[in-house]
Structures are given as C-alpha cells and as structure tokens.
C-alpha cells in the first residue's frame, strides 16, 4: 500500500480496487482453496490463523523495525485469555476475540515499556527472555492454566447464536478467513496512514525522527500494542478452533517459525506474511506427508534458497515481475 500511494499511477484503475483489492484477492484465493481442497479445511484454517499471527510480526518487525523474537508471548496471552474467558465467563466467540486482542495488546504494552527502550541484539534477547518468563509463569500457575497439560474442553457457542462450529471445519474456516480479511484491511489502512509513515521513518532513522520531534518510544509502544492485539486475535482464534490451549502457544518455536515464514514471503510488506505462510505451510505439509522423518531438511533448503536468491522474499519477486510488466505495457 505504501508504494501504491507513493506511485499514484497505480491508483488509476479505480479507487475501490486500491481500497479493497488485496482483500478481495485473499478472499478469492481462500475460497478457491476451500473449494478445491474441501477435505483440508482444518489445515487451511491453521494457515489463516498463522497468517494473522505473521501479519502482526510483519507490522512490528517489517514496518516499525522492532526486531522481536518473542511475538509468541502475545499470541499465547491472547489464546489463554480467550480460553479462560470461554471457560469461566462466556463462550460467545466474538467477545472471546475481543478479550484475546485486549490481552495481547495489554501484555505487549506492559512488556514494551521495558524492551522498546533498547535496540538490536538487546531487544531480541529481552523479547525472548520476556516470552520465556511468561511461559514459565503459565507452567507454574497450573491451577489457572493447566500447566504442561494445557486447558481442554474450551466451549465455543455458535457464531451470532446461529452458526455452530462443525467437524469438517467449514465454519472454522469461514470464521478465520473473515478475521484475516478484516485484520489485513485494518493493518493496510494503518500503515498507509501518517502513523504508518512515522513507523517506517523510525525504522529508517530513529535519531532523525527524534530530531524532527517525533515521540519515538511512545510511537513504538503504540505500534507494538497494536501488533500485540493482532497476535492476540490469532491466539484467540487458535483457542476457539482447536478448543485446547497448551504451553506450545507461548513457545519460542512459534515466534521463530513466524519470522521464518515472514522472511520467505518478504519482510518489508504485509503481503509478505500472506505469501510466506501458505508457502511454508504447504511445503511443510506436503513434504511431511511424503516423508514424515526427514522433511525438515526440505524446509531448511527452502529457507537458505530464499535468503540467498530472493532477498526481498516472494513478495519482492512478485513485485519485480509486476513492475516489469507495468513498464512493458506503458
């Protein structure tokens, strides 16, 4: 979106296309996948959820330059909050999402106060440490979180009191796809706004932004909390569709995997998350199905190839083609 605004010629085909075109593309691809692979809805639902999670990393890392490896803390906070809300207060799904978002944002804001004052390696270490502390708290507080056994039997009421979650995962798929589209739309608007521009400014040169009077830490705190809310929504969706929450939702592997998927897709763009997650997940799924013993090797090669030959990730490649096609046409 940012470069679309920077390059006005591309808004030409009509404002509505610039406004919701990418979202329509996500819906189209999602529905197509669901129609072609009706037996894999559980898997596609996971892609939707991880896409939302990776969007939050794309916002925080790609836009604001906060190099965190602890995003799973926010995902986990959202999923535990939504699970506890459903178990003890209300099993209504939308309120669960709201609670998950608030929990993610709250934890992000609280941890951000500490970690956003640092940069670079220190920030990475602090973000990992914070996530580990949260993981240990969840492990210790077994009377609330179930500890290592996790929380099971999380109830979920039908959506709007009418559409119940089904065994084939059709409702879960539509629900998560809708959430993905809404989140994507909001984030795209956000990064196209002056707020988003300031974020990229801070990523580019923190000192200079401070010199022109931008409140850098406050700004970062704000974007980190928004990223936390998005990760929290992803966590809540995971809790609601799986109906189980375990310590893995807070684990380092999830943070790392999110970053890997984003690097494959392209770090600098939100669309990188939406390209990287399905690519990673599909390659992983197919290879693990063919050979459940040695598939990790293929994932490793994929990552190395991407880093070596596609520095801008898949998005960079797609964008290059598009630009070339655009030049040829004019």
């Amino acid at each position: 979106m940012a470069d679309i605004v920077a390059d006005p010629s591309r808004v030409e085909p009509g404002r509505w296309r610039a406004l919701i075109g990418p979202e329509l593309a996500v819906v189209a691809v999602g529905l197509l996948a669901a129609i072609v692979f009706p037996d894999d809805l559980g898997f596609i639902t996971r892609i939707n959820i991880l896409s939302i999670f990776t969007l939050s990393i794309a916002l925080v890392v790609g836009q604001a330059g906060i190099g965190t490896l602890g995003q799973a803390a926010l995902f986990g906070a959202g999923s535990y909050a939504a699970a506890l809300w459903a178990l003890h207060v209300s099993a209504e799904p939308f309120s669960g999402l709201l609670v998950g978002a608030l929990a993610g944002a709250g934890v992000a804001a609280a941890s951000g106060l500490l970690i956003l004052r640092t940069r670079g390696l220190t920030l990475i270490m602090l973000s990992i440490a914070f996530a580990q502390v949260l993981l240990e708290i969840a492990n210790k507080a077994a009377f609330v979180t179930g500890g290592d056994d996790g929380l099971a039997d999380i109830p979920v009421n039908p959506i709007l009191g009418a559409v119940a979650f089904d065994f084939h995962g059709r409702v879960g798929f539509c629900y998560t796809l809708a959430a993905l589209v809404v989140v994507y739309f909001c984030l795209r608007r956000l990064i196209a706004s002056p707020f988003g521009l300031t974020c990229r400014g801070i990523k580019g040169d923190r000192l200079r932004m401070r010199a022109i009077g931008a409140p850098v830490v406050r700004h970062l705190l704000c974007v980190y909390a928004i990223g936390g809310a998005v990760a929290g929504i992803a966590g809540a969706l995971s809790a609601q569709t799986t109906q189980v929450v375990g310590l893995g939702n807070l684990g380092f592997e999830l943070s790392a995997e999110g970053l890997v998927m984003l690097s494959i897709g392209g770090v600098g763009h939100l669309a990188g998350a939406l390209l990287g997650v399905p690519t990673f997940m599909i390659v992983r799924h197919v290879t693990a199905t063919i050979n459940p013993y040695h598939w990790l090797l293929v994932i490793g090669v994929l990552l190395v190839v991407t880093v070596l030959f596609l520095p801008g990730g898949l998005y960079g490649m797609v964008d290059k083609w598009r630009r070339r096609a655009g030049q040829g046409g004019s």
Binding site: F43, N139, D149, G248, P292
Partner: protein, 391 residues
C-alpha cells in the same frame, strides 16, 4: 514442454494409484513425533510397529492393513487437531494410534468423539486424557500407576523418611502428589518436596541440600534425557549412598539412556512397567523381532507402548472383521486381556486404561558387561491410581 512432461508423470502416478487400490484396506493413522527433538518416540514406535507386523502379519480379520504415519513434532494442539481431521476426513482412517503429549490428546478428543474413531493412545500419560472421549484406549501407563507401587515398596523396605524431587511440570506434579499421598498414608514422613526446573542438568546443589536434610531415601521423577543423566550422576558424585540415603526412581534410566549414564546407574532401584530384560517367551520374541527389523532399535518402554498399541488395534480390527463398526470395536477392546512382552495386561472395561504389573528393578551388569534392569519384585495388575475410583 517441461510442464507437459510433469503433467503426464502426475497422471501416470494417479492412474497407477487407481489401478493398485482394488480391495479397500483398513487404514490406521499413526500420529507421533517422527522428526525433531522428540523423535526417539517416533523411531521407537516405528520399529515396534514393524516388529509387530513381522510377527503378526499385515492383515487382520481377513483385511489388509495400511498404516499412515503423520509427523507431529511436539506439543501443538492446533496441529494435532488438524492432522486428526485430515486423517479422518481425507485419508478415511478407521483407527488412530500414537500421540505423545497430553495437550495433543486433548485436542484430538472432540474430533475422534464426533467421527467415532477408536483411538489408541500410545503414550499421553495424564489420567484425565481418557475421560475426554469414549473412543480413547491407552496402552502406556500413568504416573500414579507407577509411583503408588514404588511408595508401597519403600514402606515395605522400612523406609520412613523421604525427600521427593521431581521435574517442575504437570507430570512431575502428578508423580509427586500420588507418591506423597500413598507414602504418608502408609505412615511415612515426607521431609521435603523439591521441584527442579525442567531443563536443569546440574544437580549438585539440589543433592547437597538433600544430604543436609538426611532422609532415609530420595524419590525422583524426571523425563528421560539430560536431566536423568544429571541426577543419577550427581547422586553418585555427591556420595549420597554411603551416607545411607537410598535412591528410588521411576523411568529415569531408560534402556536407551543406560549406556550413556554408565556405571553411575549401578544399583539404582526403580519401579516401571517394563524392563527390556523381562524374562518371558513373549519378550524374547519381541526383542528378537525388533532387532530383526531395526538393528539400532532398543527394547524399551517407548517401543513397547507402540507394540502393545498395535496389539490393541489388531484386536479391534479382528473383532470387527475389518468393517467400520466403532462401537463394536470399542466393546471388543474393553476387558481385552493378552500376554504382552511386559507380562499379562488387560484393558480396564470402565476406564479403558491398561492394567498391568509394576516391577521393582535394580540396575545390574550382565555377563557381557552391559547394564540392565533386573526385576526382583512384582506388584501385580496395578490399575491407574490417578482416577478418583481406581479399579
């Protein structure tokens, strides 16, 4: 042109697939960690399953059996659920086996309950797992099932004061709770309950503290791997035995880890449902078959879980002649008793958990200088003591 060739190849593969798939075999999905940090479970199971098929063939009830392996590397409920859905909806499996971690078992429970897929839990050892679906059966153990007999044995040995030391996670807490309850009910005194962070490998300070409180014995529970090496070595290095503090363990010195722990393990007393050196015809047959299919495989509790899991699945397939009849299969498995390499076992009709002997063993050296667990006392037909009303 290249694309054309690929398409042709794909079409060829699909056609071939159609031609081969004549009689519809009974499909069994196995979910477990076949790669990653917990792959020793998956490897052990795979070898044991191959060994079972070598001994009992690849058919049951007159039907071919097709196994579908799915990799689930760690505790990841959402992936577990998606894999179970895929196996049931897409691969149309009749049975599911495997599952190491409790949260994963929780996640697949609603799926197998709704689709009525009899599921044999090979490991996931928390008592409450089986309450989550009436199509769950378990062939492993629960910690109370093991620790209660150990507590009774220690009381029989005249031990009256003890320090407990467990890993600080849910199974550790389970082990501690059931041990302490039984030990105190029998008139023993628990001086201190120590919980050690899960990734601890340096146990020196902990054992010094135990030495200070001078109990008659130390009871431990740790997951296999580095913590187990650590605690057993530290027990020897800090010379607790000569001060008269005996060490009682559970599953620490697994057959797979014994060579690495080495002589420090000598004399370790423990309680467990299986020793690779169990003396029976059925066990020799199992060990021989395992060696034949996978020379590197070790006859340990993990492998045995997979072997007995297959026994349960085969029994259900035979009872239903390979037809899809989940309720008949479950009726057949309830109360099913057979001779396992670990000794006589049966599935408790009510809880669907395995009832088995628990053996008290001591680590010794055989004639070749190889360490093994020598069983010297048997607590027969122990139920899952973790249930409110054990039967």
């Amino acid at each position: 042109m290249k694309t054309c060739k690929r398409l042709a190849a794909l079409a060829g593969v699909l056609l071939f697939g159609c031609a081969v798939a004549r009689a519809e075999p009974v499909k069994v999905g196995i979910i477990g960690p076949f790669s990653g940090p917990f792959s020793s479970f998956g490897e052990g199971w795979k070898a044991a399953i191959d060994a079972y098929q070598k001994l009992h063939g690849k058919t049951a009830g007159g039907q071919d059996i097709e196994l579908i392996f799915r990799d689930l590397t760690g505790p990841n409920p959402s992936e577990a659920k998606a894999l179970a859905q895929e196996l049931i909806i897409k691969n149309k499996v009749q049975y599911i086996g495997g599952v190491v971690f409790t949260p994963n078992a929780f996640a697949i429970a609603p799926v197998v309950e709704e689709a009525k897929i009899p599921t044999v839990i090979f490991n996931a050892a928390t008592s409450s797992v089986l309450e989550k679906s009436k199509y769950f059966v378990r062939t492993s153990y629960t910690l109370p099932q093991i620790t209660v007999p150990i507590a009774r044995f220690m009381l029989d040995e005249g031990v009256r004061s003890v320090v407990t030391m467990v890993s600080d996670y849910a199974p550790g807490a389970d082990a501690e709770a059931s041990f302490v309850k039984t030990f105190e009910a029998g008139g023993g005194k628990v001086i201190e309950k120590v919980r050690v962070p899960l990734k601890t490998t340096d146990f020196g300070p902990f054992l010094q503290r135990v030495k200070g409180s001078a109990p008659q014995a130390l009871f431990i529970f740790f997951p296999g791997g580095p913590p187990s090496y650590g605690v057993i070595k530290a027990y020897k290095d800090n010379d607790l035995r000569s001060t008269g503090i005996r060490l009682f363990g559970t599953s620490e010195a697994d057959e797979k880890d014994l060579p690495a722990i080495g002589d420090a393990a000598l004399g370790l007393e423990s309680g467990m449902f299986y020793s690779g050196a169990h003396d029976s015809a059925s066990n020799s047959e199992f060990v021989a078959a395992l060696k034949a299919v996978a020379p590197a495989a070790v006859a340990n509790a993990t492998a045995l879980e997979g072997f007995d899991g297959m026994a349960a699945i085969y029994h259900m397939i035979e009872a239903t002649k390979g037809q899809r009849d989940p309720d008949a299969a479950m009726a057949a498995i309830r109360g099913f008793a057979w001779e396992s390499p670990r000794g006589p076992v049966r599935i408790d009709p009510e809880s669907r958990h395995i009832v088995q002997n628990v053996y008290i063993r001591k680590v010794e050296k055989d004639a070749d200088g190889k360490l093994f667990h020598k069983e010297f006392k048997t607590y027969e037909q122990q139920p899952d003591f973790g249930r409110a009303d054990p039967k």
